[in-house]
């Protein structure tokens, strides 16, 4: 899925002063590219990701996912887009503690209307992909950080999305787990031609992406071979 941002502005007005996090961002991510977005804390990296993930609306500008400007869509439609076209990986994993590993992965599929058998079959394939078949019946709360993040990645891939958004996916992991997770993301990106946008403050992690963009004071700056603005 190609991702295109044109003149995107976002200002948060929750504090004493308005906080301009995105100031006219333009960006084109071709379908299947693995992009890392870096920048200091508060630069607007996560805000950019939430806008791309249809979790928030821009104040101005266009956000095209494929050929659709999702900034203009209503919430009901954006719910469907999130369910069927976007996968989300969070820094703190955000697994549902009341569910097992397998159930966490089947959850988005069942929300999308897949049968129990079909969703379990696909979940088992994803568990094989991340090397966690044995843990499928464990409650998600008992897993290690690295394992949780792998399950979160499997959940994000459950509905075969065209866009994977990862918000500091290695932020809570040790070095070994970080490497493992980044390799998984890289492998998935290559094998599935899945457009992947990963926010990270870790330059080492960014090296796993084929393109790196720096976000600073609401503006994008190309760090790799391609200019964003």
């Amino acid at each position: 899925m190609e991702v295109v941002l044109r003149g995107v502005h976002k200002v948060y007005k929750t504090g004493p002063r308005p906080n301009k996090v995105l100031d006219g961002v333009d960006l084109v991510v071709p379908s299947g590219q693995f992009v890392a977005v870096t920048g200091p804390s508060g630069a607007g990296k996560s805000s950019l990701l939430y806008l791309l993930g249809c979790l928030d609306y821009p104040d101005f500008g266009e956000i095209h996912l494929g050929n659709r400007d999702v900034a203009k869509d209503g919430e009901s439609l954006r719910e469907k887009i999130r369910l069927r076209h976007i996968g989300f990986v969070f820094q703190d994993f955000r697994l549902i503690p009341a569910l097992t590993v397998l159930e966490n992965i089947t959850l988005p599929m069942q929300l999308a209307g897949l049968s129990g058998a079909e969703s379990r079959q696909r979940a088992r394939e994803l568990l094989r992909l991340i090397g966690m078949e044995r843990e499928r019946d464990q409650m998600s709360g008992v897993l290690s950080g690295g394992q949780k993040q792998k399950v979160a990645i499997a959940r994000a891939l459950a509905n075969l999305p065209e866009l994977l958004l990862a918000d500091e996916p290695t932020g809570n992991l040790d070095t070994a787990s970080t490497r493992e997770i980044l390799e998984v993301l890289q492998s998935i990106n290559k094998s599935r031609t899945l457009t992947t946008i990963m926010v990270t403050h870790d330059p080492q992690a960014a090296q796993f992406a084929e393109r790196t963009i720096e976000l600073d004071r609401g503006r994008l700056r190309e760090k790799g071979h391609e200019s964003a603005r």
């Binding site: 719910e79 955000r94 549902i96 009341a98 988005p108």
Partner: protein, 468 residues
């Protein structure tokens, strides 16, 4: 998946769920216990009406159409119908249509030594026919030979306690009946003979009284009222009500059938409260009802023209179904009252449920934001919350039914003791159980409404930034 998640959410905070459960159990239990009293009345009325061989009721339109026992005295509200109307009802025309019996009925009461005794006065030879199989009570108890109505005058020498019968029955001395072989009504107003010791009373075959059904102390009441020492069979004793507690409010679970002639003897000009009409073939009930209406209207118009009419201005001719409907309407007020009282408990349960669901929801806002992020719609999340609340409350509802069932027994006895109504009134019907179960589900839904509203307005970005 939604149901599974909702169920597991209930178990995530067991202590809180348990406390909410207790609240729901108490609310549903008290609903069952309270409403079962009204349900019990309705069931008894339906059984009694069903056991009567009466197909059409002619009554004053302002009469409260309640059946005979145990509310006999409350029945007709003083609305009377002329006695000579019977000639219309028993006319050859109506007999040809299928009317087989017309029974004039007076509802009244006797002031007994410990209680007010409901009285039904009707022609005694009709009693066995009107009350199917000789069963006056709706319960399957046969009246045995010795309880079958017999009549006869009181012997002049027999001491008789002073009676205070109904307002319609004069307490002034009436004519002393003379002994006769043929059944005749006892005098209800005979002056007691102070010279004879009470213990000297003896049963005479020439007079016997007409007790009908059940009730602790009935035998003694009848003996003291009418001066007989035997011939009264108490079919059912109600063990949990002490005799001394019986009946200061009046309505007991038995009635006394008296010959209507006794009432007419006292007040030759008095009317009756109802006419009960039995037909040969139930298929023609509606035709007969229609004809009766016409003939009664003509009768009243004619009487009014000659200024010779003092009965009810408006007369109703009701089929058994219509009469029952009317009775249900009266009993419906009682039901409403019981429901209103029990709703206080239900409102408390809703508040408790809402509080629990609110706490759970606030604790899980981050989780709900995650669900939204992975594609769950607001509707799905609201459903999860509603399912969770329903699980919790219907579980409480089922336990509440059991609790209510037990509480009903206790309440029954408490009502009997406190209100001195000496028979089990409450009845837990399948309909009541279903209502209680549905109510518990509604408590759940009501408790989930505000949490659903909160979740639907959740700030996704703020929640996702917070972390879990």
């Amino acid at each position: 998946m939604i149901a599974s998640l909702a169920f597991r959410n209930v178990l995530r905070n067991k202590e809180r769920s348990l406390l909410t459960l207790v609240g729901v159990v108490l609310a549903i239990g008290s609903f069952v216990a309270l409403v079962s009293v009204a349900a019990g009345f309705t069931v008894r009325v339906e059984r009694e009406m069903g056991s009567r061989e009466v197909h059409i009721y002619v009554t004053g339109s302002r009469a409260s159409n309640l059946p005979v026992s145990p509310l006999a005295g409350a029945g007709s509200g003083g609305v009377s119908l002329p006695r000579d109307m019977i000639s219309i009802l028993e006319s050859q025309e109506l007999r040809n249509k299928g009317v087989s019996m017309v029974t004039p009925v007076i509802r009244s009461h006797l002031d007994g030594p410990r209680s007010v005794i409901p009285v039904i006065a009707l022609p005694l030879d009709h009693a066995q026919n009107v009350f199917k199989g000789g069963r006056f009570s709706p319960e399957p108890r046969d009246l045995k030979a010795e309880t079958v109505v017999r009549s006869g005058p009181l012997p002049a020498a027999t001491p008789e306690p002073e009676l205070s019968p109904t307002p319609e029955i004069s307490s002034s001395p009436g004519p002393t009946p003379s002994p006769t072989d043929s059944p005749a009504p006892p005098s209800l107003s005979q002056e007691p003979d102070k010279t004879g010791p009470a213990g000297a009373r003896k049963r005479s075959d020439e007079y016997t009284v007409y007790p009908a059904i059940t009730g602790q102390g009935l035998e003694r009441d009848i003996q003291e009222l009418l001066g007989v020492t035997d011939g009264v069979l108490v079919i059912e004793e109600l063990p949990f009500v002490p005799q001394a507690k019986m009946g200061s409010l009046g309505f007991l679970d038995y009635s006394v059938i008296l010959p209507i002639e006794a009432f007419f003897e006292q007040r030759p000009d008095r009317g009756v409260h109802e006419y009960w009409i039995t037909v040969e073939n139930e298929a023609v009930v509606n035709d007969i009802q229609a004809l009766l209406k016409v003939r009664i209207e003509e009768y009243v118009a004619k009487k009014e023209q000659s200024k010779d009419y003092a009965g009810a201005r408006s007369i109703e001719v009701l089929t058994r179904r219509q009469y029952l409907k009317s009775a249900r309407e009266y009993l419906g007020y009682g039901w409403l009252l019981q429901v209103a009282v029990s709703m206080v408990g239900v409102l408390i349960a809703i508040t408790a449920s809402m509080n629990t669901m609110l706490m759970s929801t606030y604790e899980r806002l981050g989780e709900y934001a995650t669900l939204r992020a992975v594609g769950a719609s607001r509707r799905v999340i609201s459903l999860t919350i509603i399912f969770e609340a329903i699980f919790l409350n219907v579980t409480g509802g089922v336990l509440g039914l059991l609790f209510g069932f037990l509480a009903t027994g206790v309440l029954d006895k408490a009502v009997a003791l406190l209100l001195e109504i000496p028979y089990p009134m409450a009845e837990v019907t399948p309909a009541l159980l279903l209502q209680a179960l549905i109510l518990s589900g509604c408590v759940g839904v009501a408790g989930a409404l505000i949490p659903c509203f909160i979740v639907s307005r959740i700030d996704l970005v703020a929640q996702l930034r917070k972390g879990l």
